[in-house]
Subunit: 307 residues, 2 copies
């Protein structure tokens, strides 16, 4: 089934203890689309760029068969820019600068051909824009939404409105605690389910992810990477792998949601191995399957009877 | 096979957002012994108390068949006391006061009947005392050691000496990073293996635990407790469940070490559900097995082939 991805397209300046990148193509819509593209499901993008977005960035998406009909290009405009610096342990980052540029007046318009897309991924953008997108989609089968501290703090009411229309909310630990004011993550997940979504995923970075539905709790491990080069895009890659698998299989059972979490974790693990989007290039479904199986080995144990 | 537990016996003042306890029997040797006692393996304790240690505290150990021959009682002495206060989110605690009392001059003497104990658990005490214990044991089959920031900072050289004699090192995340100066936990585990232990376990509290050996990496989930009343003793309960299972089965294969990690996590999950040692009372092997199986459900997923 097809998947619609709405989010940012950006030019990122990234500094980690292991290197730096300047004006590297990124943004939530790019990471989500690339990650989802490995699941052999049609991916459509809605977003905005300026004239400065490099041709190679778009070529990469086209090569992965991502449909760019919904991409707005603002003549004479500058693309959204983000400059981030990661600390020594990579778990903390500072945003040095954000330039909204063409994103400031972004008004998402869903092309008529996209309006019946069954799977919708709302990247981390203004909840008002997320809602505007949903208003243009006819009866989606599954809406996944991401958000961040900035919107939780500044547009809480608007976010709560948008949450009513989401089926899956994907947040990280600190966002979960900020949104619910509850330190216990299981309790926080249940509070978030009260806001609308029937499925909540809490991403825990190097500690994996937690899936909570009405009928199950699932704890997914993180892939034990010794060399993480750049955490940028890990959360979006997770979302892309998760919803890519669901769009591919169109099965929303607990068992399949668990697999989707592992596919999400798989794509995130590839993402952080390289700078920017490089980790999501040159993969294959076979490579993805191999890593999925490594995740299984990592967390599998059995029981023995003792005399 | 029998298990020797060396560590502190304490009277704890505990404050959490959910209540408080005063002069409650605790200490690493008590938590480890109680947790290990559910694995039907003889448990022996070496430690020291003053005359003020309540009779009920000892009765609890005796009821669980813990052998107290190695327990020194200092006439007129006061038991080691610890006063801790947990923050709102329970992940952080402040030590309000520590009184070493009889622990200050503790000289562990291993009774002759204990000297051939094959499984040895060294609770979090001065590494010099840990080494003194090992010097009195004849060819142990497995030595597990715990430590803490205090010893890593103040007695690093002595700790490194003791680590050479340990088979299993159990530390938490911050201890692993402090000991190795390496933020990546997988790399940190490998550095710690270079210090001596062939098995390293990093406890991650609400995020589970990581087992690293020469031939495997295993990620264990945490039990998704909504109601944690008191985290005191969780790490010691983990160690007790882990080594209790190993002493019971005497199987040091990777597969069995993984099970041991889950039994450790199981005992820790029971511990934190109640104040002090109450969570380790009135359990049974059946209850332990049930929770072990819940851990399996929590982390199990399968693979499906898609057309």
């Amino acid at each position: 089934m097809s998947l619609l991805v709405v989010g940012s397209l950006a030019l990122d300046d990234i500094e980690t203890p292991f290197g730096r990148a300047t004006a590297a193509p990124g943004g939530s819509a790019v990471y989500v689309s690339l990650a989802a593209s490995y699941f052999d499901t049609p991916v459509r993008i809605v977003g905005v760029i300026g004239e400065d977005f490099p041709r190679e960035g778009l070529a990469e998406l086209e090569e992965r068969q991502v449909d760019l009909e919904g991409l707005q290009v603002v003549q004479g405009g500058r693309t959204f820019r983000w400059h981030g610096r990661y600390h020594y342990d990579l778990n903390v980052r500072d945003t040095i600068k954000t330039e909204l540029n063409v994103f400031e007046s972004f008004d998402p318009v869903i092309p008529p051909t996209y309006r019946k897309t069954p799977y919708v991924c709302l990247g981390n953008i203004d909840p008002v824009l997320q809602l505007k997108v949903l208003d243009q989609i006819e009866k989606p089968r599954l809406v996944l939404g991401d958000t961040m501290n900035f919107w939780i703090e500044r547009k809480r009411d608007e976010l709560l409105e948008t949450l009513k229309r989401m089926d899956v909310l994907v947040v990280n630990e600190s966002e979960a605690r900020l949104l619910t004011k509850e330190p216990n993550l299981i309790k926080a997940a249940k509070i978030m389910m009260g806001f609308g979504p029937s499925i909540v995923i809490v991403k825990k970075g190097e500690h994996g992810a937690l899936l909570v539905t009405e009928s199950t709790i699932f704890s997914a491990p993180a892939y034990p990477l010794e060399n993480i080069h750049d955490p940028t895009g890990a959360g979006d890659s997770f979302a892309g792998g998760f919803i890519g698998w669901l769009a591919r299989t169109d099965d929303l059972s607990d068992e399949n949601l668990k697999r989707a979490v592992i596919y999400g974790s798989t794509m995130a693990s590839f993402c952080v191995e390289e700078f920017g989007i490089a980790g999501l290039q040159d993969l294959s479904y076979l490579k993805v399957q191999d890593r999925f199986r490594e995740f299984r080995e990592l967390s599998r144990f059995d029981e023995v009877e003792i005399a």
